[in-house]
Symmetry: C2
Subunit: 261 residues, 2 copies
């Protein structure tokens, strides 16, 4: 079975859904708005496209998914009004792993379109929506088919648990107790994955196309600094290890592969 | 709320799902295979496309959905092998109303691709899949973006319950007890809907593109002949009317609008 059917954001819009628990990711989307606005403005002034294909990679399902799209369309519509151009035909591609809750995105599209039309005020051009299932660590779009690629808070998810980290005992990610080979294994896996990502996107973007990527990072070189990224993995590992001790779920200490694969 | 979120095939793959209860529709898909094969063969010989965009409108969710697509790809691959051409880039668009279970289609794509690759034997070109939510009684695809449109057992679903059929008492569709204005109202609604359908598709198809539509029909002119189409609506109406009498669900006799809107 494809890993994307197992590891994905929690669907629906209930209390434990990603849609209701993605405030932090929503914050990143808000903070990066000026960068996206600048990128799409520059792209429009360079190309004056009549048809604009936008892809959100790792779109998940919830308010953040549609916020980015509405944001980009609003900027383009404003530019069109300023320049007295007719607005382009929009093609919006929502991409995520095959286990993502695309049904939930699709069900919210009618309200979204109505709200967007209200905000734009003038009659906007046609807007077509597509769900695109598949890992962005592979080709998911035809050659030269996208003008603008966006991805936020998704590229920190690797394509798989790195090889050779069996000695990372009782952890489910890098931790201050992890041996140095574990840190290197994660770093190497990220390098491989990110190279594949860039290679794929280079084939999918039209010439002169544009990409805005946001991913969490650290302010220092210590990959185990809990202040910047590893805290919740340590917390989760501690809980899982506690369950091992108390209810004997596993017969031996947990590691990444047992948790994620 | 969009009607497509309420009226759609039953999702999932459980006992009551459309996926498990679409043998009849699957039969139609099998019977029309020669027509599709001929159409795609003719299209290929005319255009020798390097990129082939196929849309299945009203695709629902289940084995029939993927059967049609696999069928078309197999024909094109065989032609390519015969003519010693490299196979085209496939873009497959699954369209249905926004309440359709697209998640279920997407989850089955990995197995589907593996099986297809096994059957084709030679290495086929890239194949990209897209879910497209929205009623086919409106524009759902960009201008001139499709080469081949397929729709089977979907166009008998009208965009809405026709106006002016309040005198069709105790029925939920045309029945032998229906007044003649009801028959005319359904006929007019179908004419309007089918015209819109054709107008939209004409804008979405590339020049020289092709369309294969299958829909249930009658062998005589009597629209109430239960042998050809109305039997299950009469049965359903009888059950609903029985429930009205027994448990007082409705305070007055049912009609279409109460059932479907």
């Amino acid at each position: 079975m494809d890993l994307g059917q197992v590891v994905h954001m929690n669907g629906g819009d209930g209390e434990t859904s990603y849609a209701k628990n993605s405030f932090h990711q929503g914050n990143a989307v808000s903070l990066t708005k000026p960068i996206r606005d600048e990128a799409i403005t520059s792209l429009y002034s360079k190309t004056l496209f009549k048809s604009l294909a936008i892809a959100d990679l790792g779109c998940s399902s919830g308010p953040n998914t549609l916020f980015v799209v509405s944001d980009i369309i609003m900027v383009v519509e404003k530019l069109c009004q300023q320049l007295n151009h007719s607005s382009p035909e929009y093609k919006i591609f929502f991409n995520d792993v095959s286990g993502n809750d695309f049904n939930n995105i699709f069900k919210s599209l009618d309200n979204f379109k109505e709200k967007l039309q209200d905000e734009i005020k003038t009659k906007m051009s046609s807007c077509y929506f597509f769900g695109v299932p598949g890992s962005f660590y592979s080709r998911v779009f035809p050659n030269r088919s996208l003008h603008f690629i966006h991805s936020s808070h998704s590229l920190q998810w690797l394509s798989k648990v790195p090889e050779g980290i069996e000695n990372n005992k009782s952890n489910i990610y890098i931790n201050y107790t992890s041996p140095s080979n574990v840190v290197k294994a994660y770093y190497d896996q990220f390098k491989r994955d990110f190279s594949v990502f860039l290679k794929c996107r280079a084939e999918e973007l039209v010439e002169g196309g544009c990409m805005v990527l946001t991913m969490p990072g650290r302010r220092n070189e210590d990959p185990c600094d809990i202040k910047y990224c590893c805290y919740y993995w340590e917390l989760l590992a501690a809980v899982l290890n506690g369950m091992v001790l108390e209810v004997y779920i596993y017969k031996h200490p947990i590691n990444e592969k047992e948790v994620f694969l």
